[in-house]
């Protein structure tokens, strides 16, 4: 096990938890990415959009700030210090994956952040069920695609 990668994971996880705590403390909102941005894009809620746009800009600027700082604070597998890793597949695979992620998080009311982080922290039964379900199908998908079909070149 790569200890420094794990410690960076832990540190990053704490930052994500601080973000979720801060958003609830100040605006009273769940830090769920698919909810914050999905609702912004599909509904453009009046009087409730500015903070969502600001959140989006902050989310994109976080990794850029780490890159600008230098000093190798990123945690890309195989190239320590790099911040943003390469996609796991080509355009075709990603078109399919994106549709599944968008449709799935839209119908299921949340993703890894809303259900996986905030929902589990609230001990919400719906989020526990959703997290168990998406972890299960993701594990099975990776097993089938990488070990039975030989897809994925990373």
């Amino acid at each position: 096990m790569d200890l420094s990668a794990s410690l960076q994971g832990l540190a990053g996880g704490v930052l994500i938890g601080l973000s979720a705590t801060w958003l609830m403390a100040t605006l009273g909102r769940i830090a769920g990415i698919s909810g914050i941005l999905g609702n912004l894009i599909t509904q453009r809620p009046k009087g409730d959009s500015a903070w969502r746009v600001a959140f989006l800009l902050g989310l994109i600027s976080g990794p850029l700030a780490i890159m600008a700082l230098g000093g190798g604070l990123g945690n890309v597998a195989g190239s320590p210090g790099e911040v943003i890793g390469a996609p796991a597949g080509g355009v075709g695979l990603m078109l399919v994956a994106g549709l599944l992620v968008g449709l799935g998080t839209g119908l299921g009311s949340g993703c890894t952040s809303g259900h996986g982080v905030c929902g589990l922290a609230r001990l919400a039964p719906r989020s526990m069920a959703a997290t168990a379900m998406f972890l299960l199908t993701a594990l099975v998908t990776v097993y089938i695609s990488r070990h039975l079909l030989g897809l994925g070149s990373i």
Partner: protein, 158 residues
């Protein structure tokens, strides 16, 4: 402990609390939350799909990083929420907006199942996909476009 009604009245009476309700403060708070989240994803390595797929690949060279990220985030949020919910309302006004639905219905479980397949194929969930825009590539752009289309489609089906 104040009742929420009383504290609302008091807050409105305080003259120097004009900034409390300003939309600029709310926007700044939203930016700070997004920035912290993006920093967390970058430092933890979740902006690298290989780390995510490595975690999901139990039969391969298993990468435990994601469990540290999720563990750190859930424990921090668990403690943080407990402190936050000691107040009756958010610092910048309004009310805590928490999901009230309880049913484990087909939409929830079916949606989560679909999401997991897409997550496993790409190694991207919505946060890391968007946070990686600074290193935009054609495959990532393709994913972002269909993810947004998927959100619209889910709205239609609602």
């Amino acid at each position: 402990m104040n009742s929420s009604m009383n504290s609302d009245v008091k807050e409105n009476d305080v003259k120097d609390s004009g900034v409390k309700n300003s939309s600029a403060m709310k926007t700044a708070a939203g930016y700070a939350a997004g920035l912290l989240f993006g920093l967390g994803l970058a430092v933890s390595g979740m902006t690298d799909p290989a780390r995510v797929v490595g975690f999901l690949d139990l039969a391969g060279a298993w990468d435990p990083t994601l469990i540290f990220v999720l563990g750190g985030a859930v424990v921090t949020t668990f403690i943080g929420y407990r402190l936050v919910f000691k107040r009756s309302a958010p610092l910048l006004g309004g009310a805590f907006q928490l999901p009230t639905k309880q049913e484990l219905d087909t939409r929830l479980l079916g949606g989560a199942a679909m999401f997991g397949i897409g997550w496993g194929l790409s190694g991207y969930c919505p946060g890391p996909a968007i946070a990686s825009i600074g290193g935009l590539s054609l495959p990532l752009l393709a994913m972002l476009v269909t993810m947004v289309l998927g959100w619209f489609a889910a709205k239609r089906l609602a």
